[in-house]
Amino acid sequence: MLSLREVSISYDGVPAVEEVSLDLPDGQVLAVLGPSGSGKSTLLRAVAGLEDVTGGAVVWDGRDLAGVPTHRRGFALMFQDGQLFHHLSVARNVGYALRLRRVPRAQAARRVEELLELVGLSGYGERLPGTLSGGERQRVALARSLAVEPRLLLLDEPLSALDAGLRERLAGDLREILRAAGTTALLVTHDHEEAFAVADRLAVLREGRLVQEGAIGQVWRSPADTATALFLGYARVLTGPAAALVVEAAGLPDAPALAVRRSALSVDPAGALAGTVRAARDTPGQVRLVVDVAGVGEVDAVAGLERPPAPGEAVRLRVDPGRVAAIPG
């Protein structure tokens, strides 16, 4: 089990990570989510042994890892852009760690073939990395990392360099592959979609500090503060009387602030809120509206495609309690 105990890291006296404590039980996937500059990559690099910890300790199964060099930690690290060895074929990239361990040739070849099959690249063994697409390269990098059966797999924004469609597909694959291999993994990312698609647990990091940590659904349902809610993909955070109105319409217990998804309000003649449509825009599944709700102000809402309201039209809105989250003061 990986434990971070009050880990602090600073570069030349400037703190990048401050007193972060986290536990990652074996077999789980933890996503550290944070905007760029939040210190999440620094944290990952410290776990890998690429940065020195300036305070606290990185502990594995009760043993402090300070002074243990990267290559003795048994943690495989997968980069955003794969960092394949360009002069080695796909098979030799994947088998790299096996050769380091002097695994017998035939056995290593079998294992490489297995891994390539696992990541869906059977028969790619003799290709050179330069001939692969971005997604294929990431798959090879993943297979290369898994070859050592690492105690812990560290993933640094593994899907960010890919385009949207590919990212979604590969995120699902990544989750399945990690489950199938039973790998413990620590993933850092700035993309909450990526975190949700892959991880069991979520830790939110901001300005070097741990803001919130927990099971992924729990973090999602109750973000710790406004900034976290916005970062998790909520469209707006309402406060004061506006929040009170929407909370009431949703039939929720009173809360000082309410994070609202873009699709939390929908047009419904029986809805509790009344407002005037300011703008309407078609999207494939629904029509997205901006509605001026009395006492709340402008909010996002959605309507079905069959009879979308036009700007200027008065509408009533229903609140979906599953798409809002109360935020403590």
Partner: protein, 564 residues
């Protein structure tokens, strides 16, 4: 406010960091120790020994003497001539080098690789050979004798620029080649004419490379030795030749030391400046734009490049022609005479033996320069953790650039005065000359290898480490595949530089074991048409050898060779 989370936490906060940091520093020290010791023993000690000779009078340090020397009218003349001849030569080199950089690195021209290699030859050409070639071109009976430039300041400026134009071409050409063409295309799309694009987009982007090249060229011109000594006669003297005259002819060590100190200070300032201005190193991640076909608008550039080729080619052609004439007729006599020791006891050994000697020395100097340069490049390019480590690496980087600008004459003479004492007497060792030449080649090796190593994405090494590869294995997996070609190129470069080295060698080579440049200088200094003809022939042989080596190097296609 902070509460330790467990009993082990407070201790864990300090101790492990010290351990990890210490390990890294020890590795750094272990890698750096050989080059630092070598540079200390064979550069710092001799140079400071030389300086001490001049500064310490009767056991007392007397800085007033330095000021006295710097106040002499002759020294003023020397300083002034050094400054303006180097400036003029730098300006000429930049002016001639820019069009060629464009043509040879940006245009899809047949034979451009061959031309690039040939234009790199003057830089490694022995300075003495350059001197002889220009002498041959400009002397009264030479093809350009009617200009009356023999032993003139103009001849020296021409010689210095000839020698250094390739530096401009390499540095600026490399930058130009990797220049993103899109901003220029964007400017053109906004209505800028080709001339405006050049002025507003291309030139500003190239400025760091141009300034960097110019500062290095100035440095080389200001410390030019062989060219000035052979072309300047007795009329013109630069700081470097003046140091030589003061030490060997006038035995005024104090004045020589004073000039050396001045040179050291100026060179250090210039090196610091050029390091600051040095363009972002290229390396593996560098994007090279595809050369484009020649267009009508390129003719001025092509014309300027043709002028450059004539300028570089004419002295060499004259040299070759001169070497093939004996008593007014075409003959291979001069080459046949290379098997002899010349007339009127010019030499102790035949030129052929000197050539064999040169090659042996160059081989030794090459492996030394490669070993030291490889270690230095490795040390200065590894990623630093923390400010202290970065500072140490930065200081080492600057330290190993010092031989680039310190007078080879000072080094050579310093060897003589210091290495005779102390634990080992190296003065008679056959390794003395190779060591001195290795030091001269060291900065060039470092400058060839360091950008390549720095260009490797450090995450490649991290990926290897995270897969379980130790430092050595990481080096073999990640660095070696990228660096072996540059290593080979650096070897060729060091070999060529060593073959042509004259400044330090002229002091250190023994009469019975001379190198070819030393022999050439001796032959032109001796009367007799046969001796002069032999000097020309030996120059051609030396030039051809270095040219062949550089052609081989160019085939390796390493961008950082000859770039600074």
């Amino acid at each position: 406010m902070r509460v330790p989370s467990g009993p082990g936490a407070p201790r864990g906060r300090q101790a492990p960091r010290g351990r990890a940091g210490l390990g890294r520093l020890l590795t750094l020290a272990a890698l750096a120790v050989v080059p630092v010791l070598a540079l200390g023993l064979f550069f710092v000690v001799p140079v400071s020994g030389m300086l001490a000779r001049g500064l310490v009078v009767d056991g007392v340090v007397d800085p007033g003497a330095v000021l006295e020397v710097l106040g002499r009218p002759r020294v003023h003349r020397v300083l002034w001539f050094t400054a303006w001849s180097a400036s003029a030569a730098t300006a000429l080199a930049v002016l001639l080098g820019l069009p060629a950089a464009y043509v040879l690195y940006r245009l899809d021209l047949p034979l451009r690789r061959l031309l690039r290699a040939l234009l790199l030859v003057p830089f490694v050409l022995p300075t003495v050979v350059v001197g002889v070639a220009f002498k041959q071109l400009l002397r009264e009976s030479g093809p350009l004798g009617f200009l009356g430039l023999e032993e003139s300041a103009v001849a020296i400026v021409l010689g210095l620029a000839f020698f250094n134009v390739s530096v401009v071409i390499r540095v600026v050409g490399g930058a130009w080649e990797s220049l993103d063409p899109r901003p220029g295309e964007a400017a053109a799309a906004l209505g800028a004419s080709p001339r405006q694009v050049f002025r507003t987009v291309t030139l500003p982007a190239l400025r760091p490379a141009i300034v960097s090249a110019a500062s290095v060229v100035f440095l080389f011109c200001a410390s030019g030795f062989g060219v000035v000594l052979t072309l300047g006669g007795l009329r013109w003297s630069t700081v470097e030749t003046e140091i030589y005259l003061l030490t060997t002819n006038l035995l005024d060590l104090q004045a020589a030391a004073a000039l050396s100190i001045l040179q050291l200070v100026v060179v250090s300032v210039l090196l610091a400046l050029s390091a600051r201005l040095r363009a972002v190193p290229g390396g593996a991640s560098r994007v090279v734009a595809r050369p484009r076909p020649v267009r009508r608008g390129d003719w001025p550039w092509l014309g300027a490049t043709a002028v450059l080729l004539v300028y570089v080619g004419a002295p060499i052609a004259t040299l070759v022609a001169g070497s093939l004439r004996v008593d007014g007729a075409w003959s291979l006599g001069n080459y046949r005479a290379l098997g002899t020791a010349g007339s009127e006891q010019a030499l102790l050994v035949p030129v052929t033996e000197a050539l064999a000697n040169s090659v042996r020395v160059a081989v030794d100097a090459t492996w030394m320069a490669l070993l030291l340069g490889g270690l230095v490049a490795l040390v200065v390019t590894r990623r630093s953790r923390g400010r202290a480590e970065r500072r140490v690496r930065g200081a080492l980087d600057a330290f190993f650039m010092l031989p680039l600008g310190v007078s080879a004459v000072t080094v050579g003479f310093g060897f003589l005065v210091t290495l005779g004492r102390g634990p080992v007497d190296l003065r008679d060792s056959a390794l003395l000359v190779p060591i001195a030449q290795a030091l001269v080649a060291l900065p060039l090796v470092v400058r060839t290898l360091a950008p390549v190593l720095a260009g490797i994405d450090d995450r490649q090494r991290q990926a290897a480490a995270s897969l379980g590869a130790g430092p050595l294995r990481t080096l073999v997996t990640v660095d070696l595949p990228v660096v072996w070609k540059p290593l080979l190129a650096a070897a060729g470069f060091a070999f060529a530089v060593s073959l042509g080295e004259f400044g330090a060698t002229s002091f250190l080579a023994r009469e019975d074991r001379p190198t070819v440049p030393v022999v050439i200088f001796r032959l032109i200094g001796h009367p007799g048409a046969m001796n002069y003809g032999m000097a020309l022939a030996a120059s051609v042989v030396l030039a051809a050898t270095t040219a062949l080596v550089m052609l081989a190097v160019e085939r390796l296609r390493v961008g950082s060779v000859g770039a600074f």
